[in-house]
């Protein structure tokens, strides 16, 4: 029974959806404020969601209807599942085992794949171009993201997020050594979330909406919700690995710390969105392999040396 509560209410689908919509609101409002606009009212993401749920569902005639309809759900479930392994209100998440870090990273890759498959099977030209771009981009940011996050696991000597959190919580200044990894992973996360300057797969002025061009109604609603949740999960992952503050306090205070950390990362992403123009796909791949990968390798090297010194 308690597991059902975990999955459906807290920290599962209900909490995650509410938090994701709230984060979308903060992202949009902050983006608007930075651009000297008024921005949406607080209920706008929810209103958008309800509106989309009530709209007609159109599946292109040539599309593979089953895949087309299935992909939003796969994206939604994989992001929600990933969330259970991330510590939120303390040093331990609900479920943990040695190796859950890899599982979370794996589950976070699935939404990107669903964007590709959904776009590919909707058979529209714009959607296909978008889906190819999604995959191209995946190969650019995935390596630095993995290396950035795994290098911090190296010092902690564990592949479990909860173990990593415990390790860093008891050694409060160790997070400083991972600051390059944090920067690299944050930039790679922007690529994963397909937000500017890496919103190339959805570049509105080039390929309309990329993979999502043919999506409408509740399928689009679920895709949008899973992107919002992906943002939360990604931010939580970064917060758990790189910002290990406040975990030693009691559950409610640690939870407030967690919310602040996630919103901080969401705000950083909104700022990136404000101050950069969209790059081209070749420039993006170039940037990732030329700057992000060497930086993440540097982080790996630093952590290997540190580990050697410490043990």
């Amino acid at each position: 029974m308690i597991y059902l509560f975990y999955i459906l209410v807290f920290p599962g689908i209900l909490f995650l959806s509410v938090f994701a919509l709230a984060a979308e609101f903060i992202d949009r409002k902050l983006y608007a404020k930075l651009q000297n606009r008024i921005g949406p009212p607080w209920f706008q993401p929810l209103a958008d969601m309800i509106k989309l749920l009530g709209k007609e569902d159109i599946v292109p005639t040539d599309a593979n209807a089953r895949m087309f309809k299935l992909m939003p759900l796969v994206a939604f479930t994989s992001t929600v599942t990933a969330f259970f392994y991330i510590p939120i209100w303390g040093e331990r998440s609900i479920y943990y085992f040695n190796g859950d870090l890899v599982v979370v990273l794996y589950l976070l890759t699935i939404p990107t794949l669903t964007f590709f498959i959904g776009g590919w099977y909707s058979t529209s030209l714009f959607a296909r171009l978008g889906s190819v771009r999604t995959l191209t981009q995946l190969f650019a940011y995935e390596v630095p993201l993995f290396m950035g996050i795994l290098s911090s696991a190296l010092i902690a000597n564990s592949w479990s997020l909860s173990e990593i959190a415990v390790f860093y919580a008891h050694r409060p200044w160790f997070w400083v050594s991972n600051i390059i990894g944090f920067a690299v992973s944050l930039i790679a996360l922007v690529g994963k979330l397909e937000k500017a300057p890496f919103d190339i797969p959805e570049a509105e002025t080039e390929i309309v909406a990329g993979s999502f061009t043919e999506y409408s109604g509740r399928h689009l609603a679920f895709f949008r919700l899973s992107i919002d949740i992906e943002m939360i999960v990604g931010a939580s992952l970064l917060a758990a690995v790189f910002l290990p503050f406040g975990l030693e306090f009691s559950a409610p205070i640690a939870f407030i710390f967690y919310i602040i950390k996630v919103l901080f990362i969401v705000a950083l992403i909104a700022v990136f969105r404000t101050i950069f123009a969209r790059l081209r796909i070749d420039q993006m791949v170039h940037f990732c392999w030329k700057y992000l990968v060497p930086l993440s390798l540097l982080q790996l090297l630093i952590n290997l040396i540190l580990k050697d010194i410490l043990t």
Binding site: L34, Q35, N36, R37, L125, F126, L129, A196, P197, D199, I200, A203, E204, T205, E206, I207, V208, T274, I275, F276, A277, R278, L279, R280, I281, D282, Q283
Partner: protein, 404 residues
């Protein structure tokens, strides 16, 4: 020969990158552009033909509505041609006011362009900022002329509204504010890495190509062609004003941005000179309704480049023929050249970089009359369009009766 990995992607007639309907059919191989087919004609409104059915004064207001951005350009260009036909000496003060509005128009057009360019490269912050600052100039225009877009300040033989000392003060104050903002945008455009990455080297048009393809306006000037009607063939008050023709040697979209930004500063200096030196006197002279027979060609440097109006009169109060050559028609040929071997991602900004105005450009190439007549009467054209829409499911017959 088409391989399986080559395909055509339709940008337009309806596409988020385009502000007006126009069709670009792009042959792609992966992300690389192999070729572009441009098809104009989705915005045809029959304005040239309609001009022949209206008096000169009515035409002036009609031509002002060719374009929402360079409205003053078209009306001034037409009025200049008519005044030449009628041999009217326009008062100095009127010419100064026309020039003043023209430069305001250039500023608001370039600001608008900068915002659109930002949007095309996914930099919406620039769009929001520039369009906010553009409001300063829109307010000034509304104060001076009563309107934000179609100013209606021209009349044949002068202008319709005078400017007061209070206006002068307001203008000079606004120019201070704008100068600060323009310098800020110049700083952003020349220093922000992602902007430079997206703009430089994109849409190359060499000096020779610009000459060969007859590019005009900022597009030509960014390729080093010092072509500016204001300098080459001074009209209105430009002969008495000191200003530079801005050119740039980058030959790419970045160069076009720099040229437009620097032109903004030149415009500010022109406006200051105009306001400080405006002569006293009447603002218009009376011109008879019937214009003597003859033909005239008028050139005008619109924000987007050289605008040409040809007017032929047959001695009545309606023109015999009006022909408009908007700057976009001259520049659209260059787009094909600019897009050669570029990536799909460059397409929106390359098209936007000529500051296209498709509604100015669209002309009808051929028109068949059912009776076999070579000249089509306005009423026939109108009936044809009503029939065409009826066939496509929209019935304007009732509306037509009401309007007739």
């Amino acid at each position: 020969m088409h391989n399986s990995d080559e395909f055509r992607i339709p940008i337009g007639p309806q596409h988020p990158a385009l502000k007006e309907p126009e069709s670009f059919s792009i042959a792609l191989k992966g992300e690389k552009i192999l070729g572009v087919d441009i098809r104009l004609g989705y915005n045809h409104r029959g304005i040239e033909k309609a001009c022949e059915e209206r008096t000169y004064i009515q035409d002036m207001y009609l031509l002002e509505r060719i374009c929402g951005i360079c409205s003053h350009s078209h009306s001034t260009c037409f009025v200049q041609a008519v005044e030449e036909l009628a041999s009217v000496q326009v008062p100095k003060r009127a010419l100064y006011i026309r020039t003043l509005i023209a430069e305001f128009e250039r500023i608001h057009s370039h600001f608008l362009w900068l915002g659109v360019a930002g949007h095309e490269i996914g930099f919406d912050t620039l769009l929001m900022y520039t369009w906010r600052d553009r409001e300063i100039i829109m307010d000034i225009l509304a104060t001076l002329t009563g309107n934000r877009v179609n100013y209606g300040i021209n009349t044949i033989g002068g202008v319709r509204r005078d400017i007061t000392d209070d206006h002068k003060r307001q203008i000079l104050e606004a120019m201070e504010k704008l100068e600060e903002r323009i310098n800020y945008y110049i700083q952003i455009a020349t220093q922000e890495t992602t902007i430079i990455k997206r703009l430089s080297g994109v849409g190359m048009l060499t000096y020779e190509e610009a000459l060969k393809l007859d590019a005009v306006g900022p597009t030509a000037r960014a390729s080093g062609v010092a072509r500016d009607v204001r300098k080459d063939d001074p009209y209105a008050a430009y002969g008495e004003i000191v200003f530079n023709v801005i050119t740039d040697s980058h030959c790419d979209v970045y160069g076009r941005t720099v040229v437009r930004l620097k032109e903004l500063l030149e415009s500010l200096s022109i406006i200051r000179q105009l306001v400080n030196n405006i002569p006293e006197g009447p603002i218009s002279v009376r011109v008879p309704r019937k214009i003597p027979a003859g033909e005239a060609l008028s050139r005008y440097e619109a924000p987007r480049g050289e605008d040409v109006h040809y007017v032929r009169s047959n001695g009545t109060e309606k023109p015999d023929r009006v022909k408009v050559r908007a700057p976009t028609l001259a520049n659209i040929q260059a787009v094909k050249q600019m897009l050669k071997d570029r990536q799909l991602a460059d397409m929106p900004i390359v098209v936007a970089a000529i500051d296209p105005c498709f509604s100015c450009t669209d002309r009808m190439v051929a028109m068949k009359s059912e009776k076999g007549a070579s000249v089509i009467k306005w009423q026939e054209l109108r009936n044809y369009s009503i029939e065409w829409y009826k066939k496509h499911g929209v019935d304007f017959t009732e509306l037509n009766k009401k309007l007739a």
